[in-house]
Symmetry: C2
Subunit: 247 residues, 2 copies
Amino acid sequence: LEPVPVRADADGIDVEALAATRADAVIVTPAHGLPLGGVLAPGRRSALVHWARERHALVIEDDYDAEFRYDAEPVGTLQGLAPDVVALVGTVSKTLAPALRLGWVLAPPDQVGALAAGRGLQDLGSPLLEQLALARLMSCGGLDRHVRSLRPHYRARRDAVLAALATAVPAARVHGVAAGLHVLVELPAGSDEATLVAVAEQHGVRFYGLARHCAGAPPFPGLVLGYANHTPHELTAAVELIGELLA
Amino acid sequence: LEPVPVRADADGIDVEALAATRADAVIVTPAHGLPLGGVLAPGRRSALVHWARERHALVIEDDYDAEFRYDAEPVGTLQGLAPDVVALVGTVSKTLAPALRLGWVLAPPDQVGALAAGRGLQDLGSPLLEQLALARLMSCGGLDRHVRSLRPHYRARRDAVLAALATAVPAARVHGVAAGLHVLVELPAGSDEATLVAVAEQHGVRFYGLARHCAGAPPFPGLVLGYANHTPHELTAAVELIGELLA
């Protein structure tokens, strides 16, 4: 396996740039990019499927953050468009608990056998009790109810971040706010992202710089703010700290 | 990784044969060989540790079946002899439930970091709830009590197999009876192991031939009889079937 980075922007992966590589498999997060936060644009969806069918390649679709979409209708999966070339992977790490270590793959039918054999060689499979409990929770609608009940909590946290940013860092552009559990704050050109991250950590606030998520040079200085695990009050205080450090 | 088979007998792995290979790691089951059923002999234990230290090699000790020893004192681990070159791996698959998928590695200190990093890359780790429950069960002595309570049940099953073999297949030699959840039945020379396995399966009794476990030619025709999951009555009937098929 040789990983090859491919350019992405607010509309998701650049399929022309992908086609210029020799890759025969690609990992994408069409529902919500990390860190840019975009949704894969409709034209790029069809281009990606076209590329995969032409190249006889595999698209691995990480259905990342699809459960937490606040401002618009849910986004369909690529896998639904092209089940012959897309393997959809999902997890309950963010909807239920990372401690469960349960995920799934919905693979093209001709790859299921090899996938199951490989998983068997790895460690014979995932724990059974949680799988049975999760199947029950899904079939009775409990997982859906749980996710629906989480959404307003996370939306309130996102809104606290956005409100605090508007006041404390009015010059910042904010990306990827429609879904997920993080936003990307684009800082004024020339901001020193690395120093900001380091100083904030000394003040007890940890976030990641955009450069950390980029294979090459980042398009602009930016901060990735995850808000899932903090109260609106904590988030407001953290954003105010960013504003003070930038002032 | 290139696997290299190494000769073993009733005293465990042949360390001279191992030293003749270019292997720099070896997997052994010193407490109970599968399928031959032997315990790694004391002289071979020290020879194996000597080989590992000279070769700067790693011994992976699968502490397989160590919990179920019926006729003698528990066998010490290689890891206890030489923690610098032995990684001890264990599991609750047979003492509690395969469904849990919990195991552990007690690795040489200088390899712990690389091992944890590799495990993290694989899937970020094992489920937490079971780990906490198992830690509680171990620390309160519950796991020990459970294993002690299982031992007489499994011993009764083994004894049923041995008694039935003595009556139904008196010509057979039986290996590896002191521990574990299987015995190896050495059939009279010239017995057709493969046909016996196939015909028994047609009669609803499944066991494995010795050849299935051998990289080269098996030393004799043999049957591996696992008795963990059947009542003494079922086991007796299965052994009687073997006797009829051999007659």
